[in-house]
Symmetry: C2
Subunit: 336 residues, 2 copies
Amino acid sequence: MRTILIGLGTIGKSFCQLLLNRKQDLLSDYGLDPTIVAAADSKGVAINEKGIKINDIINIKEAGKSISELSIGNKDKTAIELIEEVDAELLVEATPTNIQNGEPSNSLLDIAIKTKKNIITANKGPLAIAFSSLIEKANYNNVILKYSAAVGGGTPILEFGRKCLEADRILEINAILNGTTNYILTEMDNRGLSFNDALNEAKKLGYAESDPTLDVDGFDAAAKLVIMGNLLLNKDLVLNDLSVKGIRDITQKDISKAKGNGNTIKLIASINKSAKVSPIEISREDPMCVKGALNSVKFTTEFAGEEIIIGKGAGGMETASAIIRDLVEIKQNMRV
Amino acid sequence: MRTILIGLGTIGKSFCQLLLNRKQDLLSDYGLDPTIVAAADSKGVAINEKGIKINDIINIKEAGKSISELSIGNKDKTAIELIEEVDAELLVEATPTNIQNGEPSNSLLDIAIKTKKNIITANKGPLAIAFSSLIEKANYNNVILKYSAAVGGGTPILEFGRKCLEADRILEINAILNGTTNYILTEMDNRGLSFNDALNEAKKLGYAESDPTLDVDGFDAAAKLVIMGNLLLNKDLVLNDLSVKGIRDITQKDISKAKGNGNTIKLIASINKSAKVSPIEISREDPMCVKGALNSVKFTTEFAGEEIIIGKGAGGMETASAIIRDLVEIKQNMRV
């Protein structure tokens, strides 16, 4: 499958590593032989119509250099021009999330749809801002748009709701969708740390970005909830529809009060009639009350009761494995 | 869909109730209009080629009478003769589990396969005893055989492994698959009860059968593990291949020792190279360490890490909802 790869951060690099590790089984089990015919990182672009060697991509990124050094074509193109001009069946897009206007992802997806390339994105941004119109454009142009990696890292949260609960009715979802804030709240509860001390520790361990706004103020969880609500509950939500409150104001006093009730405080993304993200007290006995950087999602269904799925919500290799899942599903759909 | 329903205990009755409650949405959402053309309970059979009214089935069972009172055809038939002679596309089979020889389920499935009827069974017995040969016979005869309800009640454990982890590789499964023993172990841990006192309480609450052997000695969990290993890990297992140890010998001394290590004792069904069921110490911090009658399954995958799914593993309506899931999937497959 001729593939354009945009974004060579942790997820993009891990995707390359998985393509390399799984070359044999992707071919034998799924008939998949992805060829990277063009790629872009933040510093430049590379084109090779016969396929850029994946080993070379990994090595050049390990060396801290730009992908453009591998180009045998014109290097003076933008990522958008790559997508527009290079002959390919698939765009894999893993640029950084932007929840203000979805860029650069939004424009990349747009041009891929116009030029009839199937899409796998790991990017919450455009989906949280314009889910319905994106899906509509993709459907109208007969383009398959997959986005497993945008929610739950490697944990197949969207697939679970879509494929395992299809014959049931999801009435409500309550979820811990952000590992960084869950780590911070866990350390505040376990060790009595202040919010700031726990945040600094999360930064040291690489769980939190240097600008932790997206996580700490609840918008990362909210963006994921928008995607879940639209896909699994047929809502027509955008990020601005949600009430969003983060965990900056949580103090040891709040934690102690919760403890006194047999509870702890978690940043819960919930959707039934309305959708919101807010720190709330939940019982320590609730199986969705996970610790550390884990994610958990409780689906309340009409007939099968409550189902909970728990897993790591982040990680390069895990998230890349979700892209591979999408790749296999696209291949299976293309065959039909 | 012309359907023969064998078995009108809790699950069979709940299935009827769901068909009634969901008549509208099964038709509008999935094009499903199941008609019960024949049915059997432990006391007799009923035939009505034009469809037995589902309300009548529910009422007659509520009144403690046999289904045979609803028959407008010959009542002197066996369940096997029903399946052989009545024109139908589907057998729904919910007879009691028998792990010695799989009967009566085994013979019922056999005749359904021979007469080319698709099958939904909630019965672990024949699958635990002869999984591979059953699947082979069904495939050879172009019969769809579904058995979601045999593992996890309403919790879509098999679907999760099959549909959500398909593009990954499951390396290992560790699971709490029996709600009765998990309830007993939870009460032994929480309240210091002896095994016998906790068992008696489980009986009073309806969690344990009057003969609790299947649960307490680990064979219910083992039968489910056989099905999971065969379906999800491509093993060729039968129940006799497993090492199975139940919880009868667990004492307060064992529980206290586990507590001292920050652990508790759970009946764990595990499969990697080998398959076994045994009470073992696991950390209280492990998210799969659920309380009460819940089930939990931890899938260790090669690429996406550990994924845990938690839900009720029993219950009439929940288990019946798994039969409806299978029904929807059969309908979708028949359409292709």
